[in-house]
Symmetry: C2
């Protein structure tokens, strides 16, 4: 075998080597060897995109104005941002109207696609990073769902010691991603495993399993309606969405939970089962747990909660068939009702959850309301949410 | 919380709904709701890319001529391919010189980036698909490497029954990805877990663990040389690559293997440890196992094997300090030497491995030479390789 074969095999692997020392360093979310995007100590990010024949290239941090890049003499487009809020930010690159991920970044499932993401370190925060403590296990799970008629993929976190303590049974938290994300988000973007590892090592939380399900489902034999020309929010689109939510609810409660309780050493009574979710996952959590209070006793909504579907004012007296109408009985039954929001979230989201908090307060419904300072509808908010929520479970 | 909040949260999640019945169906590798790319029964693929302001858009199946797309009146670019070889194919989209992944496809790490991939079904083949058999567990592993001074990520497959059979110890196969790929490839692209599940259910293989490591490493404190202007294959670039290989060898043999043997119920003698890899991983396998024959007794090279690094002719009499010089002693010591190649691989690769096979044969070195009919340097070849290789282990 000749030298050229080596070139054939290896050409793709040689990383771009560091050019010069610089205060900017490659982001931790980059692929091996990618120099860009890179970040400085103030949180500014530099992007570099190869698009020699393009006439317009932009960086799109979702929910923000698109940022125009500048073409250099070498045909590469560059941009340096202002300091970014610490945490994980999705972004895409738009080249002559084509929106795609940045080849320099790993991808993270969000916005319904494998999108780019950039991690801006938060000075002094290690609670969501791998540290020298005992690590739990993250595993993938494939299960066949009689509801959807398909194989479905989920992720599970096992606390350190699960494998060794063969006589111990554990509570379970079902933890859901947001709209456009999937079951991989809480590990890849959220670092839920490292948050738990660090909380456990510090003695701040009880050990429990975390199951992260794929939050979309279509019933076996379901034919998608043709929604062409139907705007978002039209009765047809709403019905399709509610059907998806209903199929997911059945898959979770009739297939996945029994599967988990059969295959792993869980405590399977309602006192040892929690559910939480972010954004759409928070709405799903409220709908599912309140429909199945015989199955759940801890409820968390991270930037998404009750009273959203259907719109209008949320009334604790009548919501969910009056489950909260008697606050004392409710507090005895539901051990934790937890709602969180970032102070910099879009106004509607922030005020919506703040109103929910006030309505619950006015109705004397015991709950926790947590505000993440300076963060928006993004993973840094949800990491903090989990870090506050987890220690309150299964006490 | 008002209806608009729902729109805010959910807008990204509503899948594109099926438009019309068609013989083309969305690829299994697509993201939720993406209609394109789609495939017909003959294996033709239709692509559709939104790039309204672009002047040139191409689909790039790596190693093949780029395919020009055609712009439609709606600003979307389309292309229908000829029938494609069954299996998994990486591809990218090139828009005015910007090469990126297709937002309709999930990404798979290859070519040093998160690239698109399309799965063309192989009629009648289910050996690499989830079926109604017992499934093993795939888990992620984070370990701290004293060699690199960093946290490293690996994947492990546990056969069905591992958790329940708490007194059973298992052999281990270390299975490596190719150049430009990473530790996720054997599960995401290769479906190694499903291949094992199906082999085990059919009683065709012994149960064992599979550890999939990240095949790149930089020693702690190592400063990358500046390789600007140094062509691939230059002494400087070769030295940098060999340093990377050497660091990986130390990480694997000094850190990961002891970690696995400490944390899991393994049989840790050389008779119960195998290594195999594809392409670059095959070369790494030959180098590492022959340097550590005290640790390994089963060796597999999938489209990549001995005698590549350094070029020139491979001489079984002198290679690896004469480990094969006495073929009888070698066959007693190494229980399996396995080499595979696809018949449609690039000529250099095919003839290189065929020559290796002939040289081993001429020197009476016992080995298996497997040819995958009609497949190239691609995952369908390597799935077949594993399906043939695994049943020969630990007999």
């Amino acid at each position: 075998m000749k030298f050229a074969t080596l070139a054939l095999v290896l050409a793709a692997a040689i990383p771009t080597m560091a050019q010069t020392a610089n205060t900017f360093q490659p982001a931790s979310t980059n692929v091996w060897g990618a120099e860009y995007p890179r970040i400085d100590a103030s949180g500014r990010a530099e992007f570099r995109i190869k698009a020699p024949d393009a006439s317009k290239v932009q960086i799109n941090f979702w929910g923000n104005p698109k940022l125009d890049m500048t073409k250099g003499a070498d045909g590469e487009w560059t941009l340096t941002t202002k300091p970014l809020v610490p945490g994980f930010h999705y972004y895409t690159v738009i080249v002559d109207g084509f929106e795609a991920s940045d080849p320099g970044s790993h991808t993270f499932f969000g916005g319904g696609k494998d999108a780019s993401g950039i991690e801006i370190p938060e000075p002094g925060s290690t609670y969501y990073l791998p540290t020298h403590v005992r690590h739990g296990a993250v595993r993938e799970l494939w299960y066949f769902s009689k509801v959807t008629g398909t194989w479905r993929h989920a992720m599970i976190y096992f606390p350190p010691g699960y494998a060794a303590n063969t006589r111990t049974r554990y509570p379970v938290l079902y933890l859901q991603h947001g709209a456009g994300e999937d079951e991989t988000g809480w590990i890849k973007q959220g670092h839920a495993n490292f948050i738990m590892d660090n909380l456990l090592a510090a003695g701040k939380t009880k050990p429990f399993l975390i199951v992260m399900a794929y939050g979309y489902a279509r019933r076996a034999g379901y034919v998608e309606p043709v929604l062409t020309g139907r705007p978002f929010g039209s009765p047809e689109a709403m019905k399709a969405m509610q059907e998806m939510f209903s199929a997911f609810e059945d898959d979770l409660t009739q297939v996945l939970i029994p599967y988990v309780d059969t295959h792993f050493r869980t405590l399977s009574d309602r006192d040892h089962r929690a559910m939480a979710g972010l954004s759409m996952g928070g709405m799903q959590t409220f709908d599912i747990t309140f429909h199945h209070l015989d199955m759940f006793s801890y409820i968390g909504g991270f930037s998404g909660a009750a009273g959203i579907i259907g719109g209008g004012k949320f009334d604790p007296k009548t919501a969910y068939n009056g489950a909260m109408a008697d606050p004392v009985a409710f507090a005895r039954r539901v051990h934790l009702l937890w709602i969180g929001v970032g102070t910099d979230e879009p106004r509607m989201m922030y005020t919506g959850l703040e109103n929910l908090h006030h309505e619950l307060e006015a109705a004397h419904v015991l709950h926790v309301f947590y505000e993440s300072p300076g963060t928006s509808h993004e993973w840094q908010t949800w990491r903090r949410d989990l870090n506050d929520f987890a220690p309150r479970l299964f006490r």
